[in-house]
């Protein structure tokens, strides 16, 4: 590059930069600045001084200073005053923790004549509100879990070329952090907290404003349901890093994508702002597309684009529903007290605005608003579960994806569908959810039976496991559709258990594929004679998957049936027959692979089949231990989700009556 090119480059850069500078002088107007814009308090309460400064050129008249509703323990006392240009005054904000609460989020509102601030739409007349955030004991734990993998994604890319082994260790170390944090979360999570304890029964909250022009908030928080899913995600991801050890093509790219995927998954389970949720939901798609498409099997391109298109088709429907919900939400304030005409806050939408969405006379495309939106959201989530008839992407994606990615797909991604239904469909549109309950139960049963029958017919072991996932996710749908405490608990239990069990199954399939380079069930036989440890894990995982009492799979299924039977008798009986077929295809496949005589004709050289390596055992043992413990003692998960589920059930049944009677709120 010679000089004139450089000059030109600098000029172009200056042009580009100056396009964004829109500074303008405001003549003769007051301007209020609140310092600091975020005021943080400790857990035990305290006082803080806030400066109100007039940086404008005219006197600023402050009408009053108050704390946004609900006060949540914050208070401020101050009357009207006038601040001269360039002068400042201070107000004192006090925080006294409410009983039983460790966190609080509020806003300081300053009503003044500074027209650059928006008008509060809820009060008559024009009043300009400047706001500052008040936060007591915000938690950074969830942010850490979401953003450490994201940082790890960048870190991995900076590992020097050719050091593939180092990349793997870095990825393992990065994935271990959220896993450790998830365990910490699991231990520190207060099981006694419920709706009645305030903060909508959430813990480890972080709540601030992200994009004020569209009232989008950065809102992380967990209840029991989220904790169980976050824990599952962190563990499955850690195990999947172990299962990815054999990757040899573009190692850096693989682990960068992997960690980005983990960040996306974590974000989905932590986000409580609908927009934020959607962003994470979509962010997760990109790495998945590349992970299947680059590192997948022979038909990887087809599988990758099919997965991407199916999920995107679902999520754009979700996007429309999201926008429709937003514009029908009530006027409120953002968490920092700034006035907002609408809101994306999922908790607010659930517990304040749900009756609005269900109100009679509100229509969309000529149909009842709540039902149309419910269906839009449900299709988005049902594709992810995947529910019949939206399931066809799953066998392709699972079969073509590399082992670790199949583990993630089945272990975590499918749960996002059911999580979304519980959190968003049931939360925001409880009346419509009850309306659709029977359909959900029927589709769930179809999933169970159809998945099982398809699994019977498979020659490819991985495809069999893929169809077993469809079948097992059906139980979650049936449990959720029952709208009973037992059914809900069963559904969440099943989500968690399926995540752990199916991770083992896919790792086991990967192990055999690594050795034989085929997964065709009929080409094997007598594997137990050659690989006894493998056979033991295989048997254990298959027994857990078919629902053997004493292992965790059984608990989920039995809770679902117990919860659903009083509500849908015929459907539950049909669903329960699925257990028989499930047992049948599992046992039949196991028999063909593990038992009988070694298939000499196909595999004359037994040395290709060494037993499990230490690394492989290490990826299997954590999941096996969880499966065994939860099989005998499911309380850790049930206690965790119990309060959240009973609150959700209470919420749904409270609005069920309202929907049935079509009461206008």
């Amino acid at each position: 590059m010679n000089r004139s090119t450089k000059v030109a480059g600098i000029l172009a850069l200056a042009l580009w930069a100056s396009a964004f500078s829109t500074a303008r002088a405001d003549g003769g107007k007051p301007h209020l600045v609140i310092r600091p814009s975020t005021i943080e308090f400790g857990k035990g309460g305290g006082e803080a001084e806030v400066a109100l400064e007039n940086t404008g050129t005219a006197p600023l008249a402050i009408q009053h200073v108050r704390v946004a509703d609900p006060a949540d323990g914050f208070s401020v006392l101050d009357g009207p005053k006038v601040i001269a240009p360039g002068q400042a005054t201070t107000v004192k904000v006090t925080y006294v923790p409410q009983r039983g609460r460790t966190q609080a989020f509020g806003g300081l509102q300053v009503y003044s004549d500074d027209e650059s601030y928006p008008d509060d739409p809820r009060t008559p007349g024009v009043d300009h509100v400047a706001a500052a955030a008040l936060q007591a004991n915000p938690s950074w734990l969830l942010s850490g879990m979401v953003f450490i993998p994201l940082l790890g994604c960048l870190l991995v890319m900076f590992v020097p070329k050719g050091k593939d082994h180092l990349v793997k260790w870095v990825a393992l170390a990065v994935a271990a952090v959220p896993a450790a944090l998830a365990v910490l979360l699991f231990v520190k999570f207060d099981r006694s907290v419920s709706m009645a304890s305030g903060n909508y029964g959430l813990q480890f909250i972080q709540h601030s404003v992200w994009i004020p022009s569209f009232n989008i908030e950065f809102y992380f928080g967990v209840d029991g349901l989220s904790v169980s899913m976050v824990l599952l995600t962190a563990l499955v991801s850690l195990v999947a890093v172990g299962a990815s050890w054999g990757i040899s093509k573009y190692v850096r790219g693989y682990f960068a994508m992997f960690l980005l995927l983990e960040a996306g998954m974590m974000g989905v389970f932590c986000a409580l702002d609908f927009f934020l949720f959607y962003v994470f939901w979509e962010v997760m798609l990109l790495p998945m597309y590349f992970l299947i498409g680059i590192w997948g099997g022979p038909r990887k391109e087809y599988a990758a684009i099919k997965f991407f298109l199916y999920t995107l088709a679902g999520s754009v429907l979700m996007l429309l529903a999201l926008i429709a919900i937003y514009y029908n939400s009530s006027a409120t304030t953002l968490v920092n007290g700034a006035p907002a005409a609408h809101s994306f806050d999922l908790m607010r939408l659930s517990y304040v605005d749900a009756p609005r969405f269900a109100s009679a006379g509100l229509t969309l495309l000529g149909f009842e608003f709540a039902k149309v939106v419910w269906i839009g959201l449900f299709i988005g989530f049902a594709i992810k579960i995947p529910m019949f008839p939206f399931h066809t992407w799953l066998p392709d994606a699972h079969v073509e994806a590399p082992t670790a990615i199949s583990v993630i797909l089945a272990g975590v991604l499918l749960k996002m569908g059911t999580y979304g239904i519980l959190r968003i469909n049931f939360g925001l549109l409880p009346g419509a959810s009850v309306w659709a309950g029977e359909a959900m139960a029927v589709f769930g049963t179809i999933n169970i039976l159809y998945g099982a029958f398809c699994a019977f017919a498979q020659k490819d072991l991985k495809k069999l496991v893929a169809y077993s996932s469809i079948s097992h996710m059906g139980y979650c749908l049936v449990g959720m559709a029952a709208f009973t405490q037992t059914g809900f608990n069963g559904a969440v239990m099943q989500m968690f258990n399926h995540g752990t069990i199916t991770s083992m199954l896919f790792i086991l399939v990967g192990v055999i594929y690594d050795r034989a380079h085929t997964r065709e069930i009929d080409r094997f036989g007598g594997m137990a004679t050659q690989m006894p440890v493998y056979a033991a894990f295989f048997g254990f995982a298959f027994m857990a998957s078919l629902g053997l009492p004493g292992l965790s799979g059984f608990i989920g299924e039995v809770l679902v049936f117990l919860g659903a039977f009083p509500v849908y008798r015929v459907v539950t009986i049909l669903a329960a027959t699925g257990v028989i077929f499930t047992a049948a295809y599992h046992l039949w496949a196991m028999q063909r692979i593990q038992l009988g005589k070694w298939n000499e004709a196909n595999w004359p050289d037994r040395s290709h089949f060494p037993d499990l390596s230490t690394r492989e055992v290490l990826t299997l043992v954590p999941m096996a231990a969880i499966v065994l413990v939860l099989g005998f003692w499911p309380a850790p998960i049930l206690d965790l989700v119990g309060n959240g589920m009973s609150d959700l059930l209470a919420h749904v049944s409270q609005h069920q009556g309202a929907a049935a009677l079509a009461v206008i709120p």
Binding site: A8, A14, D119, F214, L312, I323
Partner: protein
Amino acid sequence: MGGDLTIALDNVQSLRYFAPELILSVGILAILVADLVVGKPDRKRSFGVAAVSLAIALVATLATMDGRARGLFGGLIARDPFTDFFKVLFIVTSALVGVAALRSRDAIEYRPGELQDKESGEFYALLLTSTIGMFLMAAATDLLMAFLSLELVSILSYILAGFKRRDRKSSEASLKYVIYGGVAAGVMLYGMSLLYGISGSTNLSTIYQAVAASRSTLVLVIAVVLCMAGFGYKIASVPFHMWCPDVYEGAPTPVTAFFAVGPKAAGFALLLRFFNGAIPEQIHTDLFANSPWPLVLGLIAAATMTLGNLAAIGQSNIKRLLAYSSIAHAGYLLLGLCSFSADGQRAILLYLVTYLFMNLGAFLVVLAMSDAGLGEEIADYRGLGMRAKFPALVMAICLFSLTGLPPFAGFFGKFYLFAALIAKGGSLNVALALIGILNSAVSLYYYARILRAMYFDKPASEAPIVAAPIHAWNMGAMAVATLGMWIAWTPLVGWVNASMAQWYPRAQTIVTAALR
């Protein structure tokens, strides 16, 4: 909604506010004179002059920008925040295209063995003249001026499209462009004459008043639909899109990049001003129960995006594919006008900003690659993710953004467009939003064909492809803007709101939002 708040200026007073155009005119003359006087034509010198004049024009624009609306030259053109917004947009576009053309062998005929590029001066002069034309399109408040500026941009576009004189495709593109342009201009002129017949004036605000008072609905609808021919041709909407794929494929790549962003944005500026300035949303209805405009525009928008997306699926040439994709994007952008709301029109402006970066980014990658000797077929891009990591990454970012996936800029732009439709409500708007959003799911399919070629397919050769540094910087800037626009989103929204304030004052919308 007429231009009542405008400060009218006489010809001499106007000059101060016409400075950006004047500066560019001086730049054009300087480039041409320098080629004659200073010595042999030199690409870098021409670019330098062009860049300096664009920079001064930008400064002049920003310096005379005070948020007030002025009518210049007896109401022929306006200088208001809306114009300023587009001026900045056009300057950025032209500067980026200018930088891209600096290294392009494709733009300016390249003859090995010769050090100078004979025609470079003409290229940059034409680029600057187009920029003036686009300035005037965004500023026109008179039908006559609208037509003249549109023709100015069109005629320059014909020349730019055919810039590679010895290339058959380029010549073909130019001829097709001329013929379609001529027909569209004629039809539009007929529509304008009808409008003149209704109102007796060519001034937009006079037309507004006359139309609001008259009852001749059918003539008005016909006149507006005929005028839409001209605008539709400029923004490449159905049924005036046919020129687009051929011209985009045949024209030199920097020119294509320019066409895809600059004149399209100018067309939208003119369209917005036409509908806001001259045509009342509600007209006296003899024939129609409701205002006919949402339906007319909605049909055009739905047809445009559906056709663009479906036709793009079958393309094998990247420039043609991107041409169809830009047709589809014209459809999305039109959705913003269908809702006839402040939110919708602001969404158009926001989307144009995101579109500028993501679409230009995609074209810049094509340019950098063809400059480095790669073909323009999708098949040529096989394994690009391994052969040219950075350009492939930029391409991927731009394609995801064009699809509308978060956290890329295109998602936020699309979100605002669809949000405006749903906020307005009504079955037509919701149905349009549904069509639009399903279309963006369809669009993934063909964008993913490029992604697939770049990342999943095996390359024909392993040899790395190196992009010229200036292209790399340019592409990097586009990628950063596309990826990080959400950081600057709130100020951007503020700027857009200020730009639309003359038609939609801010306070009013907040109140209506609360009342809804």
